[in-house]
Symmetry: C2
Subunit: 325 residues, 2 copies
């Protein structure tokens, strides 16, 4: 959530010159992205009528060998009508370029805002868009493994250690302990898989009213269990702030929208309570890692893993009711 690298106007103008987008008119560093620097860039446009783009510089966490997957997927989905921003290719056809030792990509700007408190109608639209994404990605040629699967959460949590985790919240170690082995033992192996977004929080969806104008930030996308992506999205959209209360109508609308495009099989429905617990555990694990890696006085707001411990406990208790209703 920052701009980590300074790019001068001269750097930016030189970079923009490699694309057929006209001349640089404006560039504002924007406070978006997990570990990238981003600029909202305005140019005169290839036709002189003005154009806007998001310029992303890949700073950390992103393996450069994954960029063709991430950027190619945007083009693939966009060509199939899924609302995602296209990658702008340079005059040589490349989807990314290097600036000094960092990769950058120029990405289509799409309008819309991220909602803070989604309505059922908005959740339904997101369910539809997620199912569209799953169906449209089946014939995408590149592959990427998920590096945040159950064994990875377990490794992150083991590295952190119950002692350190208990300093974040005294209740946290036992919440993890009572679920983790269950997840590792019973994680489904034979459900349909596909490309998944794997991080479709409201922050990563731009909306205009109740219409989805863009799904963004595909930097966790990979191949995994298709219904797991629906579980992640359910965990991300269906609770009040802090994960304190389940929002019944929002959760139901998300599932209903999704199934209106891609009906779930009986085995997928049966797995959803466990997949949702896993989705909650995945965010517990990485939030714990980030929390323990961030100095307490770092002027950065640390995200509380308890927000997802509460969701995990909800799905353990009420998951069957929510998904099998």
């Amino acid at each position: 959530m920052a701009v980590y690298t300074h790019l001068s106007a001269e750097d930016l103008a030189r970079l923009i010159g490699h694309y057929d987008v006209g001349k640089l008119v404006s560039a504002k560093g924007i406070a978006e992205g997990i570990s990238n620097s981003n600029w909202l860039v305005e140019t005169t446009g290839s036709d002189g009528n003005g154009a806007r783009f998001i310029l992303t510089m890949y700073e950390r966490r992103i393996d450069l060998s994954d960029l063709p997957f991430f950027l190619g997927l945007l083009d693939h989905l966009s060509a199939k009508g899924v609302p995602v921003p296209r990658t702008i290719h340079d005059r040589d056809g490349a989807s990314s370029r290097m600036v000094d030792d960092k990769a950058v990509a120029l990405i289509e700007y799409l309008p819309g805002v991220s909602v803070g408190h989604p309505t059922p109608e908005q959740a339904r639209a997101v369910g539809i868009a997620l199912a569209d994404l799953h169906l449209a990605s089946t014939d995408f040629a590149l592959t990427r493994e998920n590096d945040l699967r159950p064994r990875d959460w377990a490794a992150i949590l083991a590295d952190a250690g119950a002692g350190a985790i208990g300093t974040i919240d005294r209740a946290l170690p036992s919440v993890i302990e009572e679920s983790l082995s269950d997840l590792l033992e019973h994680w489904p192996e034979d459900l349909p898989s596909s490309i998944v977004h794997a991080d479709l929080f409201p922050d990563n969806v731009l909306m205009l009213g109740s219409r989805v104008s863009a799904l963004i930030d595909f930097y966790f996308s990979c191949h995994d269990i298709t219904a797991y992506d629906l579980a992640v999205t359910h965990v991300a959209w269906s609770f009040t702030a802090g994960g304190h209360d389940y929002r019944t109508e929002v959760g139901a609308a998300l599932l209903e929208g999704y199934q209106s495009v891609r009906p779930l099989s009986q085995s997928e429905i049966a797995a959803l309570p466990l997949l949702a617990q896993g989705a909650a555990m995945r965010f517990i694990a990485t939030r714990i890692q980030d929390w323990l890696d961030t100095p307490a006085d770092a002027l950065v707001t640390r995200k509380d893993p308890m927000d997802f411990a509460r969701r995990l406990q909800f799905y353990r208790r009420d998951g069957e009711k929510v998904f099998n209703a």
Copy 2:
């Protein structure tokens, strides 16, 4: 340089609804401003053709009673043709509104980028724009005292203490000591005064090629010695990174551009070497304050006061030559 407050899409839409600017289409938090949160906001526009604005939320350091001065000055200068963004007034005519307990203002978006390594031609254009600002502000009705005058730098430096200052750089206390009393004793009292920008660094000037498209960030503007503002701008524009080398042609072009609009008197020219040393000391003082207030591991890049200690030493040595040539 951050977004300190989260405003949801719903908060933003509600806020935008108080202005005659159409409906909210997009909002991106931008990494600009010293101690405010800023968003680049796009709306459908009052005419349906789209419009863009900067939404500023005043977080710290800004005394709310100063807002009519800052926002009124933008309107005053803009009406006189100085390239500054106008304040957008709400349907009740107010230039600022409260959101929860914080003031916000909607400000015109102007194109342009901040240059990193200015050319003499660009420095000349900035000199002209600064002189235009000085002349256009003479009949502005509101006043604001400078709260960063020599006695204030001296107080900041005394509060910090030579011991702590020496931990930043061992050379720093003596650089300050050899100049500070000189500045306090000889600071001119009878030079022409006017409204000054007082912080016109390249970051606060948007340019399109060699044209100034906007002077921005007026949150240090106040009444003070007119030539002091030229000195601040000279200190800010005429050196290589870190203040290591004086850029003769850039400094000369800035002075030449300024004087093409507002010729300096003999007493102003004679005072410039001392005013420039004072301008360097003003930034040394606030950078020391920020440095000592920021934890070393705060994930924020601290700005080195030595960048301005080098400039101060340059003006002590060569100031007469630079300004009296």
